[in-house]
């Protein structure tokens, strides 16, 4: 294949006013993504890492402890996370997580309580004023995250006559679907603390991390009695109103308690809308005299329920914004760039082929394969330019504006999503263009665009329903899997990879099937089209 003519066709592909407008849009999209990133960053507390911490500050018998567990978005323990408790800007306790993610640090409770008591303006002990807002600082690698909280309620005098009960809501959960999981018990031989959080991941999987311990005069220890849980779920379709389902309630079941004091329940709870309800046996919640200062900080960069398509994950507000900005922008860019594939295939193949304008070129030392491949490759290169422009605009603007840029892996995912989706659509539109007249070609290409880019999900939900699927989860899984049969698969797959790289979630698409689908969409239509193209007249008979 001679490169000169390919470069000419590339120039003709790129240096069209319409294509230049699309390139300008690609630049705008890149800059727009940067803007959304900036909005996300301005919210503060952003760390592009997958760190959660759930814990409590508990005092009993004159000794106080910072106790908690660190885990990633899939509930796996994180080792080596340094957790610092700050009061009034001063570190009063710190510890690093062990292999089980467990963090235990004894701190000077008297000092703590004294600090509390000396807060200016503290009223009488019976109704104390606000504690200085405790904050947690999480440090690991690039994570240096400080999360503050808002005092939620006061209760009980402490052993030194000062308030020692406080809960801080540092959660950034704001969808209101966090279950009622916090329970505590005072008194008895032990103080019992149990907290949990629900991690919602892709593929309809819902998991929970439950953390608990008991505290007596000897210090914190594992809860030896079973804690029961109950998973409830509701099936409410946001896609199709007639799919609203019931609210089955499952029986309470025992939760195993590992020896290290943490109880991590990790497994499917049955659906996106599951809630986890914990029940502490009555015998554990008796007695008096326990003191519990619950920090309850879920100091997480992932402290957010996030929904995009069929994917739930656990991410901070900022990360969620970043992830939504990235995927949203990519999808907008794809919607526009795919139109470019339809347009360029018309200009470089449908129109000249049907009007006989390719004949003269073919009379030269050129085979039909050369001609077919040349023009395909030229458009392919044009799309590479567009996708690269998009990524470059994003990287340059975010570097200049935010002193931040996507790492090479994430940038590659963005490029691959944009480029391969365009290539898949190019293969389809170019193949149609090589055998139909321009009018018919445009009708077929626009129909393909409408079906594959605009109404695919709706069609698949309707198809799933017509096939007898009734629950939201079944139909959403059906629709999710159907993307393998859509040339948008490359975009869907690489956007999911991007989300995974940012949010630490698992993708729902199988890499093998996705790869096979991408290869099929890119390669099969042109091969079939060429088999026809090599025989047909290149002029109107």
């Amino acid at each position: 294949m001679r490169t000169g003519p390919v470069l000419y066709d590339l120039r003709r592909s790129v240096l069209r006013i319409s294509t230049l407008v699309l390139l300008a849009l690609a630049i705008l999209a890149g800059v727009g993504m940067t803007y959304l990133f900036s909005v996300a960053f301005l919210q503060g507390g952003v760390a592009l890492e997958d760190v959660n911490f759930m814990g409590a500050l508990a005092a009993r018998g004159g000794r106080a402890y910072l106790i908690g567990v660190s885990f990633d978005s899939e509930g796996r323990p994180i080792e080596g996370l340094r957790v610092e408790l700050l009061l009034g800007g001063r570190v009063v306790a710190e510890a690093s997580s062990n292999r089980e993610g467990l963090v235990v640090s004894e701190l000077g409770v008297e000092e703590l309580l004294k600090a509390v008591a000396t807060v200016p303006g503290v009223p009488a002990p019976a109704q104390p004023a606000a504690l200085p807002v405790p904050t947690l600082r999480l440090v690991k690698g690039s994570v240096n995250l400080t999360v503050g909280g808002t005092p939620e309620r006061w209760e009980l005098p402490g052993p030194s006559g000062v308030v020692s009960y406080k809960r801080v809501s540092a959660y950034v959960l704001d969808l209101g679907i966090r279950p009622k999981v916090y329970q505590q018990s005072r008194g008895g031989p032990s103080l019992i603390y149990v907290d949990s959080t629900v991690l919602k991941m892709g593929g309809g999987r819902v998991s929970a991390v439950v953390f608990g311990f008991s505290l007596d005069g000897e210090g914190p220890r594992a809860i030896e009695d079973p804690i029961c849980y109950n998973a409830t779920r509701t099936a409410v379709s946001v896609q199709l109103l007639f799919m609203a389902g019931g609210v089955p309630v499952e029986a309470y079941g025992p939760l195993s308690v590992p020896a290290n004091g943490t109880m991590v329940y990790y497994g499917s709870l049955g659906g996106f809308w599951s809630k986890l309800d914990l029940r502490i046996p009555e015998e554990l919640a008796r007695g008096a005299g326990a003191r519990l200062l619950v920090v309850g900080v879920n100091a997480s960069s992932r402290g957010y329920e996030y929904y995009s398509g069929s994917l739930f994950t656990w991410a901070s507000r900022a990360l969620r914004t970043v992830a939504l900005s990235a995927t949203g922008s990519i999808n907008i860019v794809l919607q526009v760039f795919v139109i470019a594939a339809i347009y360029l295939s018309n200009q470089l193949m449908a129109k000249p082929r049907s009007s006989g304008e390719l004949e003269f070129v073919l009379s030269g030392p050129v085979t039909r394969a050369d001609l077919f491949i040349n023009r395909y490759v030229a458009q392919l290169m044009a799309f590479a330019v567009m996708a690269a422009t998009f990524v470059l605009a994003l990287q340059v603007s975010s570097s200049a504006w935010l002193s931040f840029s996507l790492d090479a892996g994430s940038a590659t995912y963005v490029f691959a999503a944009a480029f391969l989706t365009m290539v898949a659509f190019l293969s389809l539109s170019y193949s149609i263009a090589s055998s139909l007249r321009p009018g018919l070609y445009m009708a077929a290409a626009v129909a393909a665009y409408v079906v594959f880019m605009l109404f695919w999900d709706t069609l698949m939900y309707a198809l799933g329903f017509s096939l007898g699927l009734r629950s939201y989860q079944e139909i959403s899984e059906f629709a999710s899997r159907s993307v393998y049969f859509n040339p948008r698969i490359a975009g869907a797959f690489f956007v999911e990879q991007l989300q995974s790289s940012i949010l630490g979630t698992r993708g729902t698409l199988d890499p093998l099937y996705a790869t096979l689908s991408i290869v099929a969409w890119v390669a099969v239509p042109p091969i079939l089209a060429y088999l026809r193209f090599r025989r047909i007249p290149l002029y109107s008979l």
């Binding site: 001679r2 000169g4 000419y8 009007s355 304008e357 003269f360 009379s363 030269g364 030392p365 008979l541």
Partner: protein, 242 residues
């Protein structure tokens, strides 16, 4: 040399060519004459490699247009009746684009394009878009393109149609020049008298079959030089009442 060997082609149920064979030797101008729809253009399209035959082959200097298309096409220039080019191209850019397939670099192609387009009377129109070219200009431009590598074989397909007397004289003169240079030239027309002045030999085609292949001297010996007698001979040959 152009050798057409047993070429057949059908379009659906229409048998456009049926075992067509003839040759054009080097230094010879062969007229290719037939009524409209006889199969001249289909034969030529197959000969220049833009249309695949159902069977048979065309050899250009021994290279098959089916099996060795690139080499065969390098050795033959083609001037179609109505040259069609991509209209949004500027002429000189299109020249460089086509020349790229012959292995010319962009700068070489642009230099050659300027030279050939000036030679064929398009010096002032090099920067214009091809969509703005008249039929005569397009034919001259096609000629310039066909001369990119000065091929040893040349095919004119109804090239005199739609031209003014000056244009007709130009292309007839060109065919004669090519013969002098030793090129094999196939010159098609549906009017026998158009080729009579330039051809050494005439191949007659009718309804997709070769019905006669005789030298111009042989034809003249039968009917003399009278134009009307030439046409009568042609119609009698193809069995058509005038």
């Amino acid at each position: 040399m152009i050798l057409v060997e047993g070429v057949s082609k059908s379009f659906g149920s229409l048998r456009a060519l049926d075992n067509v064979s003839f040759e054009v030797r080097n230094g010879e101008v062969v007229g290719f004459v037939g009524l409209n729809g006889a199969g001249k253009t289909t034969t030529i399209r197959i000969a220049v490699g833009v249309l695949p035959p159902d069977s048979g082959d065309v050899l250009i200097d021994g290279y098959s247009v089916r099996r060795d298309k690139r080499r065969a096409s390098e050795r033959v220039g083609w001037l179609p009746e109505i040259p069609m080019f991509e209209k949004d191209f500027r002429a000189l850019d299109y020249f460089a684009y086509v020349a790229g397939f012959y292995g010319f670099s962009r700068s070489e192609a642009l230099e050659l394009g300027r030279e050939l387009m000036t030679r064929f009377g398009l010096g002032d129109a090099m920067r214009r878009k091809l969509g703005e070219y008249s039929l005569g200009m397009r034919k001259r431009f096609a000629l310039a393109l066909s001369m990119v590598n000065d091929p040893p074989n040349f095919i004119f397909d109804e090239v005199l149609n739609g031209l003014d007397p000056q244009g007709i004289a130009f292309f007839r003169q060109l065919a004669t020049e090519f013969r002098r240079e030793g090129k094999a030239v196939l010159f098609s027309s549906h009017i026998l008298s158009e080729v009579e002045g330039v051809a050494d030999r005439v191949v007659f085609i009718h309804r997709g079959r070769i019905v006669a292949n005789m030298s111009i001297d042989e034809i003249r010996s039968r009917v003399g030089r009278d134009q009307r007698a030439l046409e009568e001979f042609f119609f009698k040959l193809v069995g058509v009442e005038r």
